[in-house]
């Protein structure tokens, strides 16, 4: 009986290991092949996060408008983040942002920090960005969040049902 079990376990290993390996390798391929764009995980540059059209649009807007204060390095050099008090949230900070509903994030981007009782240093972008652009930014934030964002974390009533 023991021998039979050993054979069975060995067989399982033989099947499972290569197929798991193949899946991981193909997942990386897929990430760049089937995605509109990719963004390296901010905490692990080797890990590429696939982005769809909307998230890629959010990424573009992020690097234009938000990166200066919501990331630790910017395309133009030092970040303004350390310069500010209170220190702005990092755009991939899942621990802080995952619990926020889309509506509340939309509100803070559109109306600015002072409208939601936070720092007025966060200016309102509601007259600069369209609602679609703000949604794209939120979609990008969700995509790069670490720990990863799961829609179920947000109360259903608060989650937008576009």
């Amino acid at each position: 009986m023991k021998t039979r079990f050993a054979i069975f376990a060995l067989t399982l290993c033989l099947v499972a290991v290569p197929s798991a390996y193949r899946q991981r390798a193909s997942a990386q391929d897929d990430a760049s092949r089937h995605a509109y764009d990719v963004e390296p995980d901010w905490n692990d540059q080797q890990h590429l996060i696939p982005l769809n059209y909307q998230q890629a649009k959010g990424k573009r807007l992020f690097y234009q408008y938000c990166v200066w204060c919501h990331a630790d390095s910017t395309p133009a050099g030092p970040s303004n983040r350390s310069n500010l008090n209170p220190v702005p949230v990092l755009m991939n900070d899942g621990a802080t942002l995952n619990g926020q509903s889309d509506e509340s994030l939309q509100k803070i981007v559109a109306l600015g920090g002072s409208a939601v009782g936070k720092s007025a240093m966060m200016p309102p972008f509601g007259r600069t960005l369209t609602p679609g652009e703000i949604l794209a930014l939120i979609a990008y934030t969700r995509a790069i969040a670490q720990p990863p964002f799961h829609p179920s974390e947000v109360p259903i009533s608060a989650h937008s049902g576009r």
Binding site: T11, A35, W68, T74, G77, N83, F125
Partner: protein, 697 residues
């Protein structure tokens, strides 16, 4: 059985998955061994990668989408039932049958294949996605999907960064020199004019460069120096030793005008020649002139070598070992005398600066070992020169490099204006193992031409993977003239930007090559701010001071405007022209009356700046504030009140795409903030109060 309702074609592909599911049922071990063996074989053969489609209740009849605008019907929604829904709820990249993303072109107006390609009439997955017929287009991998945007959008779109970058590279890397590429701009100068190259560089340097065109390379021929690898724009050609030597002989024979040595003031030379710090002085002036704004330079700091600087001019790390000393002096004094189409500005040099800077370049930007591995090159025979000339033409060197008396070799390579819609049967794969599809062909051809055809004349470019992706996207987007009149009607042409300066401005603008970095009405470079409306933005006196002594306006910017040592007269000519002609229609100069400003308004403005709008999070005044926007310490001397007031109301109306958020300020707040900002002035020897600006009391 879950998959029972699926059409036969789909279920056969899903078999391996079905088998592995059976593992959970503990059947006799013999059967498990057999089944898992099959699964192992299947996964090794690649079937295991196939993911099951969503278990949707498929109907057996075809679902058809009619796209009246394009006059066609598509059957894609037969399988992609989710795609028939709109909305974003379930869309994600790993689920292709999901609904459309929020996308400007809705399916009912455009269908699917206008972007995704593939065969919309097919009802079987393989036929629709990867047709075998040589005249049918397969699906475009999502990675290159922006190529489809390029079919109609010949102008760059913000949503297609990959495509835009690829189109830029087609022009930058000189693809347009050999290939016809409709709509891709032909640079004014592709490679440098070689008419007088023999007077510039030595035959040994030509030999080394032709063998391995890299600017940093060590004596043993390594292209990686201190972990750093350079990528030159010149590609590497397949040349045997004989071709190499003869081409070298031909090029070094091109000496139409010998370079006259410049006569420095002998007294100056006597003082500087043996001065111990002459090289340091040169380095300091080199930095102050901001040569690295345009030229890359590898620097080693704390043991780590990295490249700094711009990408407009050639890399200078070892240029001191490349060019002849007299040529260098002559070049710096007047680049256009050697290369009439050069983008290099003609600086105003003092003898002293010229002497110390050239000494620095020849001493520090040099490597005595760089040519040590080149075999000795004898004085070439006339026959060798003639052979070299033939090699020059055979390899198509004349497509990029002009030589006086020789015709430019246009259309040396095939026309690529419709490569993106080329049939697979028209592509020459030869004996290569490249997958027989267009995407793989293009990718292989640009990354390693010899892998497709070992005897191809196309040279080897040195490109990074992201650039290869972008170029592949741009080439896939070169689909030639629209396939039908329906599409032709929808094509958005690429605008041609032109700027024709006039009067006294033109020669000064041309001398300092302002357009290489700055844009004027859509024409010019993007390295520095757009100056189309500079006359509305800046005060005349400030412009003159800035041109004479440029300062960083943004605390974090590394690149800076070079100090050209221009004369007062030249600076005034530029400032006058900008003030008079480069005006924004949305900023009438008389819209703000500064005489109405009171000190009380300025106090009110300061409060708004610091408390209500918290501008200091992005802007610096004095020593405190943020790094995002420009430093406002001297804004009262810099900007016009009309510009500031207009900006506070609607920044994007003045500079489209500006990142300054538009607020909803009252007229009173705008005036108060303008009054406050106009009161911010730094007094210095170079700043004068402008008469036009008025004084805030």
């Amino acid at each position: 059985m879950r998959w029972g309702k699926l059409p036969r074609a789909l279920s056969s592909e899903l078999l391996p998955v079905d088998f592995s599911l059976n593992l959970h049922r503990f059947r006799p071990y013999l059967l498990i061994l057999l089944l898992s063996g099959t699964a192992l074989l299947a996964s090794a053969a690649g079937f295991g990668q196939e993911k099951p489609a969503d278990a949707v209740d498929q109907q057996k009849s075809a679902n058809q989408l009619w796209v009246p605008q394009l006059n066609k019907t598509e059957q894609c929604t037969t399988c992609h039932q989710e795609a028939a829904k709109s909305g974003l709820e379930q869309s994600s990249v790993s689920q292709p049958p999901g609904p459309d993303p929020l996308f400007p072109h809705h399916k009912k107006d455009w269908g699917c294949t206008v972007c995704h390609r593939g065969q919309s009439a097919a009802l079987e997955k393989g036929e629709a996605h990867q047709p075998k017929a040589a005249t049918e287009q397969p699906l475009l991998p999502i990675k290159y999907i922006q190529a489809s945007c390029g079919t109609c959008h010949r102008a760059d779109l913000p949503e297609t960064p990959n495509l835009n970058h690829g189109r830029q590279l087609l022009s930058e890397y000189g693809c347009v020199a050999c290939h016809q590429l409709e709509g891709i701009e032909r640079p004014t100068m592709l490679g440098s004019d070689l008419t007088n190259i023999g007077a510039k560089v030595s035959p040994t340097w030509i030999y080394k460069w032709l063998k391995e065109p890299r600017t940093i390379i060590d004596s043993s021929g390594n292209v990686v120096v201190n972990g750093y690898e350079t990528h030159s724009r010149m590609p590497q050609f397949q040349l045997d030793e004989k071709e190499l030597r003869s081409l070298c002989a031909f090029l070094s024979s091109l000496r139409t005008a010998p370079v006259e040595p410049y006569k420095f003031d002998p007294q100056l030379v006597a003082t500087l020649e043996n001065s111990p710090d002459v090289v340091d002085q040169g380095e300091e002036r080199f930095r102050q002139m901001f040569c690295t704004t345009c030229h890359p330079l590898a620097v080693t700091r704390a043991g780590e070598t990295k490249l700094i600087g711009g990408e407009i001019g050639p890399e200078l790390t070892k240029v001191g070992s490349k060019v002849n000393a007299d040529w260098l002096v002559a070049w710096l004094r007047n680049p256009q005398a050697y290369l009439s189409k050069s983008k290099m500005p003609r600086y105003e040099w003092s003898d002293r600066d010229l002497y110390v800077v050239t000494r620095y370049i020849r001493t520090k930007l040099a490597d005595p070992d760089v040519l040590s591995d080149v075999p000795s090159i004898a004085v070439p025979s006339p026959e060798e020169i003639r052979l070299g000339r033939r090699v020059f033409l055979k390899k198509g060197c004349g497509s990029c490099h002009a030589v006086e008396g020789m015709k430019l070799q246009e259309d040396f390579g095939p026309n690529l204006s419709h490569i993106g819609s080329e049939y697979v049967s028209h592509l020459q794969f030869g004996k290569s193992g490249i997958p027989r599809n267009l995407t793989a062909y293009i990718r292989a051809k640009i990354s390693e031409p010899a892998s497709v055809n070992p005897s191809a004349e196309m040279p080897q470019f040195s490109l990074e993977s992201t650039d290869l992706d972008a170029l592949t996207t741009a080439l896939l987007g070169m689909t030639g003239p629209p396939s039908s009149s329906e599409i032709a009607r929808l094509v958005l042409p690429r605008p041609r930007a032109e700027f024709h300066p006039s009067g006294a401005f033109e020669p000064v603008y041309e001398r300092y090559k302002c357009y290489v970095c700055h844009q004027f009405n859509g024409y010019g470079g993007t390295l520095a701010p757009d100056l189309s409306y500079e006359g509305s933005r800046a005060q005349r006196q400030w412009m003159i001071d800035f041109l004479k002594n440029p300062q960083t306006l943004r605390p974090t910017l590394i690149l800076r405007m070079p100090q050209f040592n221009m004369t007062d007269q030249e600076a005034s000519i530029l400032a006058d022209y900008m003030t008079a002609s480069l005006q924004s229609p949305s900023v009438p100069p008389a819209s703000v009356d500064v005489t109405q400003f009171t000190s009380q308004m300025a106090v009110q403005g300061k409060a708004l700046y610091e408390a209500k709008y918290q501008c200091q999070s992005c802007h610096t005044i004095g020593t405190t504030g943020g790094y995002v926007g420009p430093d406002l310490s001297n804004v009262g001397n810099w900007m016009t009140p009309a510009w500031i007031a207009g900006w506070l109301k609607d920044p994007q109306a003045q500079v489209p795409g500006s990142i300054e958020p538009r607020r909803s300020m009252t007229e009173e707040e705008v005036n108060a903030l303008t009054a406050y900002l106009m009161s911010l002035r730094q007094s210095g020897p170079a700043s004068h109060a402008s008469a036009a600006a008025g004084d805030a009391p």
